[in-house]
């Protein structure tokens, strides 16, 4: 019987090691797998490259990893949330390298990575410093910035419901980067509020088909809604 559920957060991040590239879903707090990030922190791995829309907030999530000197590089669109001093100071110290990609480009590069495409041609950032150092390609009379696809050793995803085959349903705007990153991780780990038996989730409601998912872990959360 296929069963992708794992019994603990520790088991969920087994094999996530030093120097790996890790995608982290979420937009602000919405859809962010905070408990999986805590498990990565406890695991103690270093020199991580983090791909995420934001770079944590306060002393939580990705910011906690940065504050504990576990991060070498961050690829994101918006690192400068109001309370995020961690990434700002680490970049200023030269400890963390920051690569900025516009949000839509970031999303599409992750999708391209998961979809086996060689890159993305986008008008976004053309002739601005956002495209500095990137090739420009002309096709049918229009110019595009060429952006490389993104893949990861681990994708840490937050969902709402999953079954034992790894079919995932997201809650409201929790989706954001999560379904895209689920496709682009060599090992995709999903933390959910509820685990279901196979057949309990209506096939028409599945956002992320189980083929993209390697591990499912249920996290009991304090209800904040």
């Amino acid at each position: 019987m296929i069963d992708k559920t794992v019994p603990s957060l520790e088991a969920a991040v087994q094999g996530l090691d030093d120097g790996m590239v890790v995608m982290v879903g979420g937009f602000g707090d919405s859809g962010t797998p905070h408990e999986l990030l805590n498990a990565v922190l406890e695991r103690g791995c270093r020199d991580l490259t983090i791909i995420s829309n934001n770079a944590g907030d306060g002393d939580r999530g990705i910011a906690a990893l940065i504050l504990h000197h576990r991060v070498r590089k961050v690829i994101c669109s918006f690192p400068t949330t109001a309370h995020n001093h961690a990434v700002r100071e680490a970049v200023e110290r030269g400890e963390v390298e920051l690569e900025l990609r516009p949000q839509g480009t970031l999303a599409e590069c992750i999708r391209a990575g998961g979809a086996g495409l060689g890159g993305v041609l986008t008008p976004t950032g053309l002739d601005t410093e956002l495209a500095e150092g990137k090739p420009v390609y002309e096709l049918d009379g229009r110019r595009y910035v060429v952006e490389r696809p993104l893949r990861a050793d681990f994708a840490l995803v937050r969902g709402w419901r999953a079954d034992r085959w790894g079919n995932v349903v997201y809650r409201y705007a929790q989706q954001n980067f999560n379904p895209l990153m689920a496709m682009a991780g060599r090992c995709t780990v999903v933390q959910v509020d509820h685990v279901h038996e196979v057949g309990e989730i209506d096939p028409m409601h599945v956002h992320t088909p189980g083929i993209f998912v390697d591990r499912v872990v249920r996290v009991e959360r304090e209800v904040r809604r």
Binding site: F27, G28, D29, S30, G31, N53, C76, S77, F78, P79, T80, T81, V87, R88, V91, E92, L98, L100, P102, Q103, G104, T105, L106, A107, E108, I110, R111, T122, P123, T124, G125, L126, D127, T128, E129, L130, R171, Y172, A173, Q174, Q175, N176, F177, N178, P179, L180, H207, R224, R225
Partner: protein, 219 residues
């Protein structure tokens, strides 16, 4: 500047609202554009897009109805109106970049006479976030900017050439300020409307680029 001259930020928002229409799909940027969310009513039929993956965004809920999975681009709690939908970031930016969005309302540091937009980073700033601004401004059918006409130091924000890092080139179509409504045309800037209490000469003096003034506006 006296309080009786020009438009307040709320009045600018109301002026923008007069240019929107039933059925318009609209994205509101951070800052002054978010004022529109408070002015919209369901009867207007204007559908708000939030870049994190919402179409049909409604105003902030009362504190006891907040939901952490229903937030806007500034991470503030919002609501979903009847008819709303939710989706992932690639679909969200397909709507923006793919030319499906009717209007993007954005704040700005500077706009040039050719419609170049600078709104994500100050000169010399080492760490800044661009978020969705670059995709939104290249992709929306109409990019309208809401901003004060002058900086706090009295410098014009409507300029010949932006000195701030650009978000996108040649994208802004219309600018709403406390002093005027200004269109960006292939020939350059053109005054569309004066705010109460200001003269054409005031606006020309506060604009660091040639400003065409049609007769209908007092030229």
């Amino acid at each position: 500047m006296s309080a009786t001259r020009g438009w307040t930020e709320a009045e600018i928002a109301r002026r923008v609202l007069a240019d929107l229409w039933e059925g318009a799909y609209v994205n509101l940027g951070i800052g002054m554009p978010l004022l529109l969310n408070e002015l919209l009513t369901p009867e207007m039929g204007i559908i708000l897009h939030s870049e994190n993956g919402i179409l049909g965004m409604g105003p902030a809920p009362p504190p006891d109805r907040r939901d952490d999975d229903i937030v806007d681009a500034g991470k503030a709690h919002v609501t979903l109106i009847p008819g709303a939908s939710v989706f992932h970031s690639a679909d969200s930016f397909a709507m923006l970049r793919g030319g499906h969005l009717d209007v993007a309302l954005l704040g700005a540091y500077q706009v040039s006479m050719r419609g170049d937009l600078a709104n994500w980073k100050r000169p010399g700033q080492r760490i800044a976030g661009v978020g969705g601004a670059a995709d939104i401004s290249v992709g929306a059918r109409r990019v309208w900017v809401m901003m004060r006409h002058l900086t706090r130091d009295g410098e014009p924000r409507l300029v010949r050439e932006c000195t701030f890092p650009l978000t996108a080139r040649g994208v802004v179509r219309r600018v709403y300020t406390d002093m005027a409504v200004v269109d960006v045309t292939p020939e350059g800037l053109r005054l569309a409307e004066l705010a109460p209490g200001y003269t054409v000469a005031d606006v020309v003096a506060a604009t660091d680029a040639p400003l065409a003034v049609p007769e209908s506006v007092g030229g």
